[in-house]
Every structure is written in C-alpha cells, then in structure tokens.
C-alpha cells in the first residue's frame, strides 16, 4: 500500500488503528535505525521510537499531505532524537563534549555493536560532529538518501546540506588519519 493510500485509510476509514498499524509496520525498522545511529544505545532508541510513533498518532489527523509520509515521519524521528540528546545534556548539566564521550563509551560496552576496530573508530569520529551535521552525514553516507529528501526532512536547503556533508567528511577523514 502506498503512503497516500495509508493516509487516506487513516483519515477516512472507521478504523484508523488498523491504518496506523500498517504505517508502524512499514516504517518501524527504518526509523529505528535512523534513531539508533543518533542515540547509539538500544534502550534509549526504543524510547525515542515509541515517542516518535505516539507523536505521529496525535498529529496524523492533521496531516494534509503537504509532505510525504516518509519525510514527515523522519522529521519527527529526527526532532525526537535531537530533543532526547538535548534533554540528556540539560538533565545532567553536561557540555556537548561530555555527551559525545558518553556515547563513545557506550559504543565500547555495547553488546549490540557488531563493528570491527575501524568501524568503531568511524562511529567515534561521527560522534565528534555537531548533532545536526551528524544527522546529515548518517542520512547521506549510510542511508544514501537524496539531498532533496534530506532537505524536506531537515528543512534545510540542498546547498547547505551538501556543504555540511562535505565538511563532515573532511572532519571524519582527518580524525580517521590520526
């Protein structure tokens, strides 16, 4: 079923729960991995993913199809992830660099991390990027998402995204050479 059909089913049928289940079924894994690359910890990712779908449920009745369902859900997931990291910082009065360190440490001890040493180093390099640039890098590098879709999700111009990705790659390569 296409996204348009899913939305129509949600908005017009007597059983929106059924349509919503189909939406969850279609996007749960993609959104999980998108969030996971930002949050790193599985348990925290699970919380953020639940919140993402709860927000989507509340907002779907107002969804008028100005954007694609896919970009709309990614936007909620991205915002929820950034909000989560921000809350983590403010809750423990942590500077940005300490959050990065915490996330890096959680990679070290994460039983659900399958990467080798070089992949671990890459993840640590990514964690050194500013949060928004990290999202850009992950979307482009790992998900190979089109800049146009990223632009719709992140509400940033294609040019700015390209520049951001270029800077991210440079920083990461520099870190990898060290």
């Amino acid at each position: 079923m296409t996204d348009k059909e899913l939305i129509q089913l949600f908005l017009e049928s007597d059983n929106p729960d059924y349509a919503f289940n189909l939406i969850v079924n279609k996007y749960r894994e993609r959104l999980y991995w998108h969030i996971r690359k930002m949050i790193i910890s599985h348990d925290d990712t699970d919380d953020v993913l639940q919140n993402t779908f709860i927000k989507a449920w509340h907002a779907l009745p107002e969804f008028r199809g100005e954007s694609q369902l896919f970009t709309w859900l990614y936007r909620i997931a991205t915002n929820e992830s950034l909000t989560f990291l921000k809350k983590k910082r403010t809750k423990f009065f942590l500077p940005l660099v300490d959050v990065e360190r915490q996330l890096s440490n959680s990679i070290e001890g994460d039983p659900h991390f399958n990467g080798d040493a070089i992949q671990k180093k890459l993840q640590k390099a990514i964690l050194k990027l500013p949060e928004k640039q990290r999202v850009v890098f992950n979307m482009r590098y790992f998900d190979e998402m089109k800049y146009e879709d990223m632009s719709a999700i992140l509400d940033t111009s294609v040019g700015a995204l390209k520049a951001s990705y270029h800077h991210a790659v440079q920083k990461i390569e520099k870190f990898m050479e060290e």
Binding site: D17, F20, N21, V24, N25, R28, E29, Y32, W33, R36, K37, I40, H42, D46, L49, Q50, F53, I54, W57, H58, D110, H112, F113, N114, G115, I118, Q119, K120, L122, Q123, A125, Y141, F142, V169, I172, E173, M176
Partner: protein, 173 residues
Amino acid sequence: MEHRVTLNGELQHNPFVVPENYFGTFSIRKSVVLNSALKQNVFAAPKGYFDTLQAHIVEAVANAKRSSSVLRWQPLRAQLAFAASFALLIALGYGVFSFLRPAATATEKNYAGSFPSYLSQIIDEPVLIHAVANDSEHAITRLHPAVAAMDNDAIIRYLADADVSLNDIAATY
C-alpha cells in the same frame, strides 16, 4: 616598439611537471566516503526485538491515548475544584448566616405556606372546616396557633389533599 604575444604553437605545451615517479606510485587515497565496507550497519538490535516492536508501539500509543484523555480533563479539574470550593464556601456561608440569624417564630418559619403534616394528626378536617367556615379567628387559634398563621390557600390545598369534597370546601369559603 610594442611587442605583442600571439597564441602560437610554442605556447601550447604543458608547463607543469609532477614529482618523479608520481604516476608510478599513484593510488586513490583511502577515503571514508569511498570505503563501502564502512557503510554497513554495525549496530544490532536484541534478538526478537522487531518481532515484538509492533505490539509494543501499539500498546504505547494506546496508553498515550488513554492518558491524553485524562490530560484533557486536567485543566478542567482545576476549574471544577475551584467551582466546588466556591459552592462549598457559599453553602457554608449560608449555613453560618442561617445559624446566626435570630430564630424565626414558629408561625413565620413553618406554617405560612403549607399545612404541616403533624397538624393533620391532631386536627380533624371537619373541625378545621367548621372553624374556618365560622371565620372565627378565636376558634382557629384555639385549634392551634400555627393554623392561625396560615393563609387560606394552604388550608384549601391541605383539605383537597385530604380528600375533603370540593363542595364542602366551596361551601366553607
């Protein structure tokens, strides 16, 4: 005399040079971007996580729906509590006012508008009709002081309720 440079064939040769054996040792610099092995997903989810994820999300959304319906009452709860407090205050104020007010006389208090039930047990209707028919205030007062304080409508209503015939009542009044 002006010397003009023309783009002749001699100027067409490449003036740049590369370090010795540059092309012999050339290789593409290792780049994160070009290393596709690094692109693979290195994170894993606990075993069976995605099998139960759907159910967990549906449950979380259902819980959120329930709590949001409770939350919808949250602002009203404050207003309702305020209204209840206000009503309680009014009731208490009225109670205090009634308590402090000088006690009303028996006649004012109870008997002006209706016929008290206890009187019906001590006054027979024919006696009441007789007293009222004679229009003797003394006779009525003698029946009971409370009856004297009552208006005629209340007495008529009482008599009608007591199944005294309307003819008798009409004859009385």
